[in-house]
């Protein structure tokens, strides 16, 4: 029978989310969701631009930018988008809506729903104290499921013995 390793479940993973763009927030949740589905204790720490992913009024509006992103190709081609073109008004919104559709086709949930799924599975979400102070945020600005605002030292204690992924 498969080794479900219920008792040896002391593996812990910390994901540091430092970017608040759609693609990197999604990457964090794909990995986090996979981790927690394997019985791994999961902590996600949001810092700097990654805070957008847990600021309640912003988290439904994450974007992906084609500017300075040579890996983003004109759809259906191998041609990267020239920065001059990518910088035109509306291009970020266009790229974001394209990516949103592509994700949806693969049944990847929108960001808030994805975060809720991972929260329901038992993950912990932490906000970075320094960024929180720098942006002048209040508790009510954060998404409900965020456990707390913690310092860099708190994070060091929390991540004791954990594997860490920095995104």
């Amino acid at each position: 029978m498969p080794n479900f390793d219920d008792d040896g479940g002391d593996r812990k993973l910390c994901i540091i989310v430092s970017k608040g763009t759609m693609e990197w927030a999604t990457a964090a949740m794909v990995l986090g969701n996979a981790a927690i589905g394997e019985g791994i204790d999961l902590h996600v720490f949001f810092t700097f631009w990654g805070m957008d992913a847990i600021i309640d009024r912003r988290m439904d509006k994450l974007k992906v930018s084609p500017v300075a992103n040579p890996s983003m190709k004109i759809p259906g081609t191998d041609i990267g988008m020239a920065n001059m073109l990518a910088g035109l008004p509306g291009m970020t919104a266009f790229a974001s809506s394209m990516m949103h559709k592509e994700m949806k086709a693969l049944d990847v949930p929108p960001h808030r729903e994805f975060m809720q799924m991972v929260a329901d599975a038992g993950a912990h979400f932490w906000a970075c104290r320094l960024t929180y102070d720098m942006l002048g945020l209040k508790k009510e600005d954060l998404w409900d499921e965020v456990d707390d605002v913690i310092s860099a030292s708190d994070f060091m204690e929390l991540s004791d013995g954990a594997q860490i992924i920095f995104i």
Binding site: M1, P2, F4, D5, G9, G37, G39, D107, M117, A121
Partner: protein, 105 residues
């Protein structure tokens, strides 16, 4: 190919122990598979998931992911983690006589 004797039936299994021939699975077998992985009793909620997985497999040819079970069978994520603790995707597939899901989400 490896085989394993579970519930009095000789089953084809892969190296991880998942059944490789979904046709060998029967409803009578599910409780025995559950016991193998520490689920002592299959409740109505377990059966809801198992029945969905079996019928979805018939239609799609692959095992549904947790996301698919929660959205299409209407079993909330929280409940899936309670019914099949720690590794719900693998455990629900195992009890249903299917391979673990290959999808990422």
């Amino acid at each position: 190919m490896a085989t394993e004797l579970i519930g009095g039936v000789e089953l084809d299994v892969d190296e991880e122990g998942f059944m490789t021939n979904p046709g060998q699975w029967t409803e009578e077998l599910a409780p025995a598979l559950g016991k193998e992985i520490g689920i002592d009793e299959l409740t109505e909620e377990h059966w809801k998931v198992i029945h969905f997985l079996r019928s979805d497999y018939e239609a799609q040819g692959e095992t549904a992911t947790l996301r698919r079970v929660s959205t299409l069978a209407g079993v909330p994520t929280k409940d899936l983690y309670k019914l099949f603790p720690k590794k719900p995707a693998k455990k629900m597939s195992y009890v249903s006589g299917l391979q673990k899901p290959t999808g990422c989400v």
